[in-house]
Amino acid sequence: MLSIRNLHASVDGTPILRGIDLEVKAGEVHAIMGPNGSGKSTFANVLAGREQCRVTQGEVHFQGHDLLAMSPEDRARAGVFLAFQYPVEIPGVSNIYFLKAALNAIRKYHGLEELDAMDFISRVKSKVEMVKMDEALIYRAVNEGFSGGEKKRNEILQMMVLEPALAILDETDSGLDIDALKTVADGVNQLRSDDRAFIVVTHYQRLLNYILPDHVHVLSNGRIVKSGGPELALELEERGYVWLNELTAGAA
């Protein structure tokens, strides 16, 4: 589904990603861990198409598309979804209208008719219930004045409504209480299917108790320095990242 080769990217002229290779197959969940500042969000943002993250080398193919040649909106239409580490507040744009515009843009891309108001609202309401979000929030401006947890739930709500092929969750678990954490995991598990894949960026093994990953990767200094199965996350939890630095030093 997603095939990344030798990906390099810089932000404001500073190289951040320094040669990432990754294969994600449909049906898989990949966890990405790594110390602060290692480039996890940059990686996620490059996949979503943020212009500030300039790709300087490498290739990314997503379901046969040359992903790097696509605009952010076309990526989203083709099925890429990024749950932001820091969801953006958009005063004056109502959450429900935003969601409707997003869903209809995706449907249009796939040659489907726009959902009528009734179908749309019932779909949203059932997902709102699923992510245990206060229904009033869908009528408020996008993320405006939402608490940290509410913002994260809102990201999951969007994911549930838009049903992407590839969802990238950038620390969606950070700052969440244990119930919210389970909600996020439930959301992912519910969408999980043979034709979907997930990249879950997290600092905590805890989330991976609920979302069992197929692969775990450690990103350090802009490179994947170690990959393994779920047991790698446990090892990191125990030993931290310091032992990996030695690996990186060795590799460089």
């Binding site: 979503a48 212009e51 909106e73 953006v88 958009i90 409707k100 891309y109 609202i121 009528y139 996008v142």
Partner: protein, 449 residues
């Protein structure tokens, strides 16, 4: 500073003085003559005058604008629906500055309400106007106001008896047929008796694009406890000049709400001056200016708090695109007697292009000590983070921009209480942003749900 640019108006005035409305009344003649003299002394304002620092009227001064000699008849059915003509209202229509009675469906006499053309009133009962026409000291100012008083040809005269409430809005529709170098010199006089209540819409449209001039002044006196909501919708043609003054005097516990929307015109100037003359008066000034191309729109507002316990609210927003330029000058003066004043002002500007410009200047002058005053002024650009967020949710870049611009302007439009006017402006905004509407973008939650 005599110069040929304005001496032509002196000659013209002498030629037509006797034919101007109200000329048989000595006080009207004296008022006009005095104004003409003031105008001749100073001519058009230039950018050395502080109040005109950012607005250069030299291109305007190079024209010689003349009033269209009489009424150009236009077919009502040819009027576009965007003129709001279909909405229920007490309507007076003016074409190139002349009242067009055949376009004015309203004929019913309402108890306690005078609603007529100013020219008609000046011709038939000028004595009724002596105490309220041209009595505002602002009108002693040189330049366009003086020119307006000298040449005023027509406009609306509205008088509300004490306690009268108008259920339907009054709609004053000013249509320019769009003939180059013509001027419509409009004067509206509104006298709202104690406890009266009305909504008054002034709208300015053009049927064609040409370099014509609208020089308009509205005077409003709000009696004790009167409640007047005033709309000014300016949608002149792309090459038009629009010079407007709105002068409001508020008595005890009266309320005045202004919605000042500037969309059209090549060079637009709005002077809005509210004098809170007595205790407990309250005003709200809501404004939106959208500029593009090479438009220049200048809003100068001034609020004078003269007596205790008056409050004022001012919310102005602007969106500037292309190489256009806007000016906002919001002056609030709290006089020494005006204790317990509550004055708040905000002005926010959104620049859509690198060539667009805005000069925004709040000016607070406080001479009383027990007051609550605040102001905030910002100039910004579209939020890149928000744009990316929207695009990452499949919304294309152009639509994402429209979302954000609409979101920026929406609170001004939300304050508009007359639903058809609000809808009309939402549509105009969409046309400006998109060349059409985006279904469902505006409308309430139920509309979405």
């Amino acid at each position: 500073m005599m110069n040929p640019a304005h001496t032509v108006y002196g000659d013209e005035f002498r030629g037509m003085e006797k034919t101007l409305p109200g000329s048989h009344a000595p006080w009207v003649r004296a008022l006009r003559a005095q104004a003409m003299e003031t105008f001749m002394e100073q001519g058009f304002p230039d950018t050395r005058i502080e109040e005109w620092k950012y607005t250069d009227v030299r291109t305007l001064a190079r024209h010689h604008f003349t009033a269209s000699p009489g009424l150009t008849s236009i077919d009502e059915s040819a009027l576009p629906s965007r003129l709001l003509t279909g909405e229920p209202a007490h309507r007076l229509v003016f074409v190139d500055g002349h009242h067009a009675p055949e376009l004015t469906p309203f004929n019913t006499l309402l108890n306690g309400v005078t609603l007529t053309s100013l020219a008609f009133a000046l011709a038939n009962r000028p004595e009724e106007l002596e105490s309220c026409l041209g009595r505002n000291t602002d009108l002693e100012k040189p330049g366009f106001n003086a020119l307006n008083t000298a040449f005023m040809s027509d406009g609306a005269y509205i008088r509300l008896a004490p306690g009268v409430t108008l259920e339907q809005p009054v709609h004053l529709l000013f249509i320019a047929t769009g003939k180059t170098d013509t001027v419509a010199t409009v004067r509206n006089v509104i006298v709202a008796g104690p406890g009266s209540k009305a909504q008054i819409i002034e709208s300015y449209f053009s049927l064609n694009d040409a370099a014509y001039l609208t020089n308009t002044v509205t005077e409003l006196i709000a009696g004790d406890g009167a409640d007047i909501e005033h709309y000014k919708l300016e949608q002149e043609g792309e090459s038009a000049y629009h010079m407007a003054g709105m002068y409001v005097r508020q008595h005890r516990d009266s309320r005045y709400t202004s919605h000042n929307i500037a969309l059209g015109g090549r060079l637009v100037r709005n002077d809005l001056h509210v004098t809170l003359d007595e205790p407990g008066a309250d005003c709200t000034l809501n404004g939106l200016y959208l500029t593009r191309g090479r438009q220049h729109v200048d809003n100068h507002t001034r609020i004078d708090h003269c007596k205790p316990r008056a409050s004022s609210r001012e919310w102005y927003k602007g969106v500037m695109d292309d190489r256009s330029r806007a000016v906002f000058n919001g002056r609030v003066v709290v006089h020494k007697d005006a204790q317990q004043t509550d004055a708040r002002q905000s002005n926010h500007n959104l620049l859509l292009s690198n060539e667009a410009e805005v000069d925004a200047q709040p000016q607070l002058e406080i001479y009383a000590d027990d007051v609550k005053c605040s102001h905030g002024c910002t100039v910004g650009r579209l939020d890149e983070e928000a744009l990316f967020y929207l695009r990452s949710r499949a919304i294309d870049a152009a639509t994402a921009r429209i979302f954000l611009i609409h979101a920026f302007a929406t609170d001004v439009l939300q304050r508009i209480r007359i639903a058809p006017v609000r809808r009309h402006l939402e549509e105009q905004l969409m046309v400006r942003l998109h060349g059409g509407e985006i279904p469902g973008l505006y409308g309430n939650q139920e509309g979405v749900a």
